[in-house]
Amino acid sequence: MTTELHRAFTSLGKQGDDKQLPPYFLSYAVSDATVVAIQAQYGALVSSSANHVRVADVQVRLGEPKLDNTHGAHRSSAVNSASLPLADDREALARSLWLATNAGYGKALDNYLRVKTEAEVRAKEEDSSPDFSQEAPQVYLGKPAPQVKIDRAAWEQRIRALSRLFRDFPDVNQNLVILAVQNETDYFVSSEGSRVMTPHAQARVVVIAVTRADDGMDMFRSQTFEAETAEGLPAQAQLEAAVRELGNSLEALRKAPVTEPFDGPAILSGRAAAVFFHEVLGHRLEGQRQRGDEEGQTFTKEVGKEVLPAFLSVADDPTLTTFGKTWLSGNYQYDDEGQKAQRVDLIQDGMLKTFLMSRLPIASFANSNGHGRASTGHVPIGRQGNLIVTSTKTVPESELRKLLIEEAKKQNKPYGLYFEDISSGFAVTQRTSPQAFQVIPLVVWRVYVDGRPDELVRGVSIVGTPLAAMKRILVSGDKSEVFNGECGAESGTIPVSAVAPAMLFSEMETQRQPQGTARPPILPIPGAEAVAPAKKEAQ
């Protein structure tokens, strides 16, 4: 890689009579991954595969850091991807890299010429920061990740068995259980002299289940388990319990009453708060959101100002691999631009300090803080890793519930809401879309002030503006929960984590979600005949 990079860097733009522009920056990022994926549904295997892929992202930059081929809408022109030979055949690897570099250079050249023309004809931009930050080269050679080695037959049986548990829940009309184990070695070399090799391993079990209420409303729940290796995943009994919990919850949900519009106090569980902060706050703290005429720039002018209640602080720390005993998916040692991962204190005591930065500078911040992330084939941008929300104003969770009831009484509401689980949607931060976040509440309870038992409701959707909602947090719980997930944005899908305690909001506006009208299945799910009598007996 290094040899071929050097050869390319010193040859490009110096050939022939019609001298072409030499690149000022060239990098090769290679991801070498072995993956085992097993999927089961309806109690049987639907796929099981093992795979090895090696992909190179070649980044070519022409012009100068101040203005290069990646400016504005041309950002994707920096990267050209190619699959590489799997064998360590030097000649074949060099030839594949040459082919990809050559194509990448062509694309970069074309885009650079257009960028220059556009720069000449347009009015001054709001943010005139350069296109690429100056950073010190990094050298770190970690150990390559080993190939994935798991007992496939045993895991197939485990995944199959988990899916089969849903047979006890005949109203769950679709289910999917997935095991994905990926061991990846990431290589990065650049013309600036960076040479980085880091391993990244992750094992994941994902359980998804779907049901449909009699009125046509579709409901789903999912549960994920992450660890560095498959051995680190929870024992089967624990996974089984989680599957049963999902099954029970969906059967209860489909019978639950449909929500009514509500504007009043609410608690988000730790897990729900983690998702909420990732979607609502985290995405808006990504550096590039503050740049460009199309972006919302929610926080651009808020640096140094209070954006959250003073008892809350938010950091993003990819260097952490665990929180308590829980593995954090969003950990990495070096980002996808070869920069060392850093803990970044985004908000301290409610005050906005900085943003998640890649090597794309913005007016207020000129440098990367090690958050340039992307999946293969994409140009890295500022993304979250492990978002950690901490609070200095905490009460035990039982107390939080009492405070919710008090707050509801104060507001003359018959109940407050308890959001047990919410799913991430997509954070929309562009100017043309409303500044509303998209989180989908999955499990919501009414907590009555008169002491009635809590009541599960379905079809809740959160409305209102994000910033306003975040400022109305009154107090938090004293235990943090972890949400591990995959986050999709412009630079692809990457693993992330968010950690937060439960939180009490003085006001959360909700409405009834638009619902489907399709009827539930006409015939019972096969095998249900066997379940129904058994259930009756149990009752």
Binding site: L12, Q15, Y42, V46, S49, L84, R519
Partner: protein
């Protein structure tokens, strides 16, 4: 398996079945025994399908709506291995197994049903395990969805029918006799490591073979691939059809490319195909062909550009003839339901050609999926029963140059009320009429030498300085190897040409002679198809310079 292969010959709405071969015994020499439903139930997949089918037939009905009149379950299992290599090293290697269930539900009746243009039915992933509950669950989910969509589509169809004056030209769905046919499933057996190595070696020949490695500097890509695929299909209908069938396909490919000094892209590729491993070229034969392709790049780079425009005779080799007939005839011989409210019979270039001449009168075209091999080469387009459970018939599509038949599945068109067993489907896709083994023959066909003499004679007659011969075609019927031939018979390779006027009209009135030997072209598309075709001598074709954009040459040299 099939003991008789009738040739269907439709005249008007009548139907005459001519028995081609005499009834012959099955391969094992025993009298074939008609399998029964209880034989089928020994197969766990069929057993699960039949159980769920019975339940759907009996109970599937939405209150106040009609029950389905037809349900079909199709489960396909694909077991495949594919390896790819470039520049001498493996770049990917994958073994894949999967099962897909496709459910078709029709409501209404055979005359007017819910079927529309968007591909009816629903698809679900099906269990790889022979687990009855899991298999049935996938079918149940897809059936529920397909039935609800069918009810909506049927209501919409009724509304659309009220909008048009001209009634539909044929029934929506044909009635067919149910069949039970149980072929043994094939197994995929390939030595994965050995094939990885073989393909890697193919892709590295540009730098390892002594005869071509001097030119390795100019090679821009060199890729090899091998794929093996066994597809087993289980099919059950509410009419009582039960089918299990299995097909295999293997192919090894090599592709290499460069640019000429003026930037023109030059590509060559070669593929060997078959229904079993032994159909493929032996390794040394394949390597020899790959080396010849690499060597041809050097010739192509040196080859002069074709003249700006040429009008005159052109000889298409049987290889090029097969590609031409596949593109121009293969696309037109299938019959599909025309737009509602029109009087059209079908769609495509031969929509109105029934009984009309579509080729010179010395041509005949038969599509015979029962033809499993030709001159020792296996034909990938062959099959016994189609994907609607209808036994494949040999169909005389063109007789003495006239269009006398179309290839049909179970959706009839005017004058063709029955399927002739050509309803074929890609993986998880709805069936549509497709060719199987399309055989184009010319009466009094000529040898290659005779064709060549005819070509030269045409040149002399017309006082032309040169004529052309296409050895191979690439995509869009663009010549890959095109030779300019002077009247004294001297051949010169030229590059950068495209053909104009090569269309159905030219085939009908411009083909003056054809070869006697047929080329076997196996196409691994969505559904595997085969064309057997002769060389074609065409009276008047336009050849012109392609004038495609010539990309820049590499910005810097390849690594040494």
């Amino acid at each position: 398996m099939n003991s008789i292969r009738p040739v269907a010959l439709f005249t008007g709405a009548g139907f005459i079945a001519a028995i081609l071969g005499a009834a012959c015994l099955s391969a094992a020499g025993q009298t074939p025994v008609q399998p029964t439903r209880s034989d089928a139930e020994k197969d766990p997949v069929l057993k699960a399908m039949l159980t769920e089918m019975d339940r759907s037939k009996d109970q599937l009905q939405l209150k106040d709506f009609q029950k389905p009149f037809f349900i079909q379950y199709r489960i396909e299992e694909v077991d495949s291995f594919e390896t790819k290599a470039e520049f001498g090293a493996t770049s990917s290697s994958r073994r894949n197994q999967g099962r897909m269930a496709r459910v078709t539900v029709r409501v209404g009746d055979y005359k007017t049903d819910s079927s529309g243009g968007r591909g009816d039915g629903a698809v679900e992933l099906a269990a790889l395990d022979d687990d009855p509950i899991a298999l049935r669950s996938a079918l149940w989910m897809a059936t529920d969805q397909a039935y609800k969509s069918a009810l909506a589509a049927y209501a919409q169809k009724q509304a659309e029918l009220k909008q048009v004056e001209t009634p539909p030209q044929a029934d929506d769905f044909s009635k067919e006799t149910p069949v039970i046919s149980l072929a043994e499933p094939l197994k995929l057996k390939v030595e994965e490591r050995a094939w990885e190595e073989r393909v890697a070696r193919d892709s590295g020949l540009y730098r390892t073979d002594a005869t071509v490695k001097d030119g390795q500097h100019d090679v821009q890509y060199s890729v090899g691939s091998f794929s093996a695929r066994v597809t087993t299909t289980w099919l059950v209908t509410s009419e009582g059809t039960i089918v299990r069938k299995s097909a295999a396909g293997y192919q090894e490919s090599f592709g290499v490319g460069t640019q000429a000094a003026d930037g023109m892209r030059l590509d060559r590729s070669y593929t060997t195909t078959g229904t079993s491993l032994k159909d493929l070229d032996a390794p040394e034969v394949f390597e020899k062909k790959a080396v010849a392709l690499i060597a041809s790049l050097t010739d192509l780079r040196k080859a002069p550009l074709v003249e700006e425009e040429y009008h005159g005779p052109l000889l298409l080799s049987s290889d090029a003839g097969a590609d031409t007939l596949y593109a121009l005839v293969g696309s037109g011989v299938t019959a599909t339901r025309p737009k509602l409210g029109t009087e059209a019979r079908t769609n495509g270039p031969f929509a109105s050609s029934y009984h009309a001449r579509v080729l010179p009168d010395f041509f005949d075209v038969v599509d015979d999926p029962g033809l499993k091999s030709y001159n020792g080469k296996s034909l990938v387009g062959a099959y016994d029963v189609d994907d609607e459970g209808v036994p494949a018939l040999a169909v005389k599509v063109v007789v003495d140059g006239r269009m006398e038949n179309y290839l049909l599945g179970r959706e009839p068109v005017r004058d063709f009320p029955q399927s002739n067993g050509h309803g074929r489907a890609g993986l998880a896709a709805p069936p549509k009429p497709s060719i199987g083994v399309l055989q184009v023959t010319a009466k009094e066909g000529l040898t290659d030498e005779e064709l060549n003499s005819r070509l030269l004679a045409l040149a002399k007659d017309r006082g032309l300085k040169s004529v052309y011969y296409v050895a191979t075609l690439g995509g869009n019927l663009t010549p890959r190897l095109l030779y300019r031939i002077t009247p004294d018979g001297k051949r010169e390779l030229v590059r950068g040409a495209e053909l104009d006027d090569l269309d159905q009209r030219t085939l009908r009135s411009g083909v003056v002679a054809a070869g006697k030997h047929l080329w076997v072209a196996n196409y691994f598309g969505e559904v595997p198809e085969t064309v057997l075709a002769p060389a074609l001598l065409i009276d008047d074709v336009t050849i012109r310079r392609a004038n495609k954009k010539n990309d820049k040459l590499p910005f810097y040299p390849p690594p040494e």
